[in-house]
C-alpha cells in the first residue's frame, strides 16, 4: 500500500526547501499563496467593517487607505497572479504532457525563492507602516506626495514579477520541448493551451512593470523627473506603463482559470469539449488582444477622442473570445452525462459569475457610460466578478478536482458542496450591491461616504462575512483530509488526461514509462476504456 510517491520519498524540511520536483514546488507555492490570501483577506475584512457605517469611524482615513492598498497588492501580486499557474500549473503541466518535470527544475525552485523574497519584502512593507497609494501606485502621488513605504512595496512586486517571468518562461519551453510522443499541439488539454497563452503574457508583459517600478523609484529617490510635471515628467505616462502590464495581468489571472473550467466541464459531463480549437485559439486571441486595450483604464485622464475610440473598440473585441468560451462550455453540457460534484459546482459558479463580470465589462468599454462609472464601485464590482467570481472560483474548483491527485486523499464531498454554495451566495451578496452603488455614483477608495449609500454597503459587508466562512471551511477540511481523508484511487473521477494515468499521489518522476499518446484530449465517449498508454 505504501508505494513510494513524491510526498513520502523523503521527509524533512531540507527535502522540501531544496526540492526540484515540480509537484513539491507547487505545494511550496500553495503554502505561500494561501498565507498571502488570508493576509489579503484580513485587510478586506477591515475595509468592509469600516464601510458598514457612512462615517469613517472605525479606523483613521490613513489606516483605511493602507488597508485597501495592501488588500489589492497582496491579492493581485502575491495571490492571484501566481495562484493557478504556480500551484496547479506547476503541479499538472508536466503530468498533462507526459513529462517527468518542467524543462528547468532548478529555475522552478529559484522562482519560488524569488517569489518568497518578494512576498517577505511586501509583508515587511506592510508591517513597517504600510503603503497608501492604492495598488495602482499612481504618480505623482506615489512618487512625490505620500510618505508611506512605496519603494519597499514596489520592490516586493518587482521580485514577484521576476518569479512570474521565470515560471512563464519555464512553461513555454516545457510545452514546446517536452510533450510526450504523439501529443501534438491540438491534442493538448485546454489547461495546457491556457497556460501557454498565460506564459506568453507573463514573459512579455512583466518586464514592463519591472521597468515602471524602477522609473518610479528613480523619481522618488533621486528626483529624476519622469512622472511629476513639477520636475519635468508626465503623470499620464505612468498610467500607460502601469496598465500596459496590469491589464494583460488580468488575463494572467483569468486565462488559467478558463483552462481549469475546460477540464472540469468535460470531466463532469463526460463529454469531449465542444469546439476544442475555438477554445484553444480564443486563449491565444485573448493573450494578443489583451495587450492592446490598456488605455481603457484612462478614458477620463485627458486622452484624445480618437485614442479613446480605438481603445474602446479593441476592448469590445477582446470580449469576443471570452464569449466564445462561455458558449462552448455551455454546448459541452448538451447531451452530456452530468454529475454535480464539487468541482463541477465551482465550474458552474465560474461560468455564471464570469459571464456577469464579462457583460459588465461591456459597460466600461462603452465610452459614454465609462465616464460616469469609472473609478466608482461599479468598477470594483466588475473586477471582483472577474477575479474572485472567475479566477478564485475556478482555482477552488481546480484545487478540489486535483486534490486527490495532489494529496492522495479524498476531501469530504458534503462539506465541499456546502462551502461551494456558501461561497457563491456570499460572493453575490458582497459584490452585486456594488454595481448599484457604482451607478449611483459612489467613488471607490472612500473611507466615508454619503448616508444614502449605507444600505447597499451593509449588504456588501454582510455578504463578505459569508464569503469569509466560505473560504475558511475548505481550508479546514482540506487540511483535515490530508490525514483523515479516504485514500484516493489513481483516477477517482474517471477522467481523461495523462495526469490520471499515474498513481495518486504520483511518484517523483510522474510516470514509470513515458506515455505515448494516440488520440485527442477528452475522449470520454469510448466507455471507460483506458487511454492507451505505454
Amino acid at each position: 500500500m505504501t508505494r513510494t510517491n513524491y510526498l513520502n520519498v523523503q521527509y524533512g524540511v531540507r527535502s522540501w526547501l531544496l526540492t526540484t520536483d515540480h509537484k513539491r514546488i507547487a505545494l511550496l507555492y500553495l503554502a505561500a499563496i494561501t498565507l498571502f490570501f488570508f493576509i489579503g483577506g484580513a485587510f478586506a475584512v477591515m475595509v468592509r467593517l469600516e464601510l458598514v457605517t457612512p462615517q469613517g469611524d472605525l479606523v483613521e482615513a490613513e489606516t483605511y487607505n493602507k488597508m485597501f492598498t495592501m488588500h489589492g497588492v497582496m491579492m493581485v501580486f502575491f495571490f492571484l497572479i501566481p495562484s493557478t499557474p504556480a500551484v496547479l500549473g506547476n503541479f499538472l503541466l508536466p503530468m498533462m504532457i507526459g513529462a517527468r518535470d518542467l524543462a528547468f527544475p532548478r529555475i522552478n525552485l529559484l522562482s519560488w525563492y524569488v517569489f518568497v523574497v518578494g512576498g517577505v519584502i511586501g509583508l515587511g512593507a506592510a508591517i513597517s507602516g504600510g503603503v497608501d497609494t492604492g495598488w495602482t501606485f499612481y504618480a505623482p502621488y506615489s512618487s512625490t506626495y505620500t510618505n508611506t513605504a512605496v519603494i519597499t512595496t514596489a520592490l516586493g512586486v518587482f521580485f514577484a514579477g521576476f518569479s512570474s517571468i521565470l515560471t512563464g518562461f519555464n512553461f513555454i519551453v516545457t510545452i514546446h520541448k517536452m510533450r510526450a510522443p504523439g501529443l501534438t499541439w491540438f491534442r493538448l488539454p485546454l489547461f495546457v493551451w491556457a497556460h501557454y497563452a498565460t506564459s506568453v503574457i507573463q514573459v512579455l508583459g512583466t518586464p514592463v512593470i519591472a521597468i515602471t517600478i524602477i522609473l518610479l523609484a528613480m523619481e522618488r529617490v533621486m528626483r529624476v523627473g519622469i512622472f511629476d510635471p513639477k520636475i519635468g515628467g508626465d503623470p499620464v505616462l505612468f498610467q500607460h506603463l502601469f496598465w500596459f502590464y496590469s491589464h494583460p495581468a488580468v488575463y494572467i489571472m483569468v486565462l488559467p482559470a478558463m483552462g481549469i473550467v475546460s477540464e472540469l466541464v468535460t470531466c463532469f459531463s463526460r463529454k469531449k469539449i465542444y469546439g476544442y480549437s475555438f477554445i484553444a485559439m480564443s486563449s491565444v486571441a485573448i493573450a494578443v488582444l489583451g495587450f492592446l486595450v490598456w488605455a481603457h483604464h484612462m478614458f477620463v485622464a485627458g486622452m484624445s477622442l480618437y485614442a479613446s475610440m480605438v481603445f474602446s473598440v479593441l476592448s469590445f473585441l477582446v470580449a469576443i473570445p471570452s464569449a466564445i468560451k462561455v458558449f462552448n462550455w455551455t454546448a459541452t453540457l448538451y447531451r452530456g452525462s452530468i454529475v454535480y460534484q464539487t468541482p463541477m459546482l465551482y465550474a458552474f459558479g465560474f461560468i455564471g459569475l464570469f459571464t456577469i463580470g464579462g457583460l459588465t465589462g461591456l459597460f466600461l468599454a462603452t465610452l459614454a457610460v465609462d465616464v460616469h462609472v469609472h473609478d466608482t464601485y461599479f468598477v470594483v464590482a466588475h473586477f471582483h466578478y472577474i477575479m474572485v467570481g472567475g479566477s478564485v472560483m475556478a482555482y477552488m474548483g481546480g484545487i478540489h478536482y486535483w486534490w486527490p491527485k495532489i494529496s492522495g486523499r479524498l476531501y469530504p464531498e458534503g462539506w465541499a458542496r456546502f462551502s461551494a454554495l456558501v461561497l457563491f451566495v456570499g460572493f453575490n451578496l458582497t459584490f452585486f450591491p456594488q454595481f448599484l452603488l457604482g451607478y449611483l455614483g459612489m467613488p471607490r477608495r472612500y473611507h466615508s461616504y454619503p448616508e444614502e449609500f449605507q444600505v447597499l454597503n451593509v449588504m456588501s459587508s454582510a455578504g463578505a462575512s459569508i464569503l469569509g466562512v466560505g473560504y475558511l471551511v475548505p481550508m479546514v477540511y482540506l487540511v483535515w483530509s490530508m490525514r483523515y481523508g479516504k485514500p484516493a484511487p489513481a483516477n477517482p473521477w474517471s477522467a481523461k488526461g495523462l495526469e490520471w494515468n499515474t498513481p495518486s499521489p504520483p511518484p517523483t518522476f510522474n510516470f514509470d514509462q513515458t506515455p505515448v499518446v494516440t488520440e485527442d484530449a477528452y475522449v470520454y465517449q469510448k466507455a471507460d476504456e483506458e487511454v492507451p498508454v505505454g
Partner: protein
C-alpha cells in the same frame, strides 16, 4: 439608515438621459444574454444529469456554422454598442459655443473654484439651470477627478496640464460633488455640493457673493506685479510678443510650426518659456514655475484673454 435608499441616481443634466439610455439598454442586453446562458446551463444540467454510473453519452460533433454564429453575433452587437457609446461620447466631448466658463483647481483636499466675475468658492459650485457651463480643471499637486454623478460627468485634473468638462444642468437642486481619483489621506472628504439655481436665484447669488476683482482684473494686477508688462507691451513690440488679441489665434514658432494660442499654450509659455518660442524672439523670459500657483495662472490667462486685439504685429494671419 433606510432614509433615502436610492437604486438609481438622479439625472440633472442634458447628458444624463443619453447615458442612462445606453446603460439601461446594456442592462437589458446583459439580462437577456445571461438569462439565455443560465437557463441553458440549468436545463442541460437537469435534463442530461447522469442517470446511472456507467452511462456514456453519445458524441456530439462540432459545428462550424454554430461557432461562426456565436462569434459573429456578439461582434455585431458589440459594434452597435460601441458606435452608440462613442457617438454619444463625441457629442458630450466638446462644449457648445458660448458656454459659461468656470475655473477649478484641485488641491489636497479641496476643490477651489473661481468664477470669471471674481467669485470664489471652495467645495461648492453654484451654476444656473438651463445654460451650458464649461469647467477648466487644473491641480496644484496630485491627480484628482471632478465627478458629479447627477450630471454623469467626470474628468481628471492632471498635474501639468489643463483638462475640461462641460455640462448643461436641467434641474435645480443640490448634487454631490466628489473627487473620484484617489488623492491621499482625505480623498473621501474632497467633495461638496453643486447648487443648480434658477436664473433669478443664480443672479441673486452671483451679485450677493463676496466679490473682489474679476479674474481678469486679478490677472492684470499679477501681470503688473510680476513685471510681465516690461517685455510684453501693448503699444509696441517689446522683448516679448504683444499679447493683445493673441488668444485663440495661430502663432508661428521659431521652427516654423504654428500652434493655436489656447489656455494650454499660454500656461506652458509662462511655466516653460523656452519650449515654444514665437518666431522672431529669443528666450529671455524666465520661468514662473513655483512663483505662481494654478489659480493665479488661470487669472493671468483670463487677463490675456480679455485683452482686445490691437493689430497683429507678430501673429501673422
Amino acid at each position: 439608515m433606510w432614509r433615502g435608499f436610492p437604486l438609481f441616481p438622479e439625472a440633472a443634466s442634458t447628458i444624463a438621459s443619453g447615458v442612462d439610455t445606453i446603460y439601461l439598454f446594456l442592462v437589458a442586453l446583459s439580462l437577456l444574454l445571461s438569462a439565455g446562458i443560465f437557463l441553458a446551463i440549468f436545463y442541460f444540467a437537469v435534463r442530461f444529469r447522469r442517470r446511472h454510473p456507467g452511462e456514456v453519452p453519445a458524441p456530439v460533433h462540432g459545428s462550424l456554422p454554430l461557432e461562426l454564429f456565436w462569434s459573429f453575433t456578439p461582434f455585431v452587437i458589440m459594434m452597435i454598442v460601441f458606435g452608440w457609446g462613442t457617438s454619444l461620447y463625441f457629442r458630450n466631448y466638446n462644449p457648445p459655443a458660448g458656454a459659461m466658463e468656470i475655473f477649478v483647481v484641485g488641491k489636497q483636499w479641496m476643490w477651489k473654484i473661481q468664477h470669471p466675475e471674481g467669485q470664489r468658492e471652495i467645495n461648492e459650485l453654484h451654476v444656473p439651470v438651463g445654460q451650458p457651463v464649461k469647467l477648466t480643471l487644473a491641480t496644484e499637486d496630485v491627480i484628482h477627478s471632478f465627478y458629479v454623478p447627477a450630471f454623469r460627468v467626470k474628468m481628471d485634473a492632471i498635474p501639468g496640464r489643463y483638462t475640461s468638462l462641460w455640462f448643461h444642468a436641467t434641474r435645480p437642486g443640490r448634487y454631490h460633488l466628489f473627487c473620484a481619483e484617489y488623492c491621499g489621506n482625505q480623498h473621501s472628504k474632497m467633495g461638496g455640493t453643486v447648487h443648480v439655481l434658477e436664473q433669478p436665484e443664480y443672479e441673486a447669488w452671483i451679485s450677493g457673493a463676496a466679490r473682489g476683482r474679476s479674474m481678469a482684473e486679478s490677472g492684470e494686477e499679477l501681470f503688473q506685479r510680476l513685471g510681465c508688462f516690461t517685455c510684453h507691451r501693448a503699444d509696441m513690440p517689446g522683448r516679448g510678443p504683444v499679447l493683445e488679441g493673441v488668444f485663440g489665434n495661430p502663432v508661428t514658432l521659431q521652427d516654423g510650426r504654428r500652434v493655436i494660442a489656447d489656455e494650454a499654450y499660454l500656461r506652458e509659455s509662462i511655466l516653460n518659456p523656452g519650449v515654444k518660442i514665437v518666431a522672431g524672439y529669443r528666450t529671455r523670459m524666465p520661468t514662473f514655475q513655483g512663483q505662481i500657483n494654478e489659480e493665479q495662472l488661470m487669472q493671468i490667462i483670463a487677463y490675456i484673454k480679455s485683452l482686445p486685439p490691437k493689430g497683429r504685429l507678430d501673429t501673422e494671419p
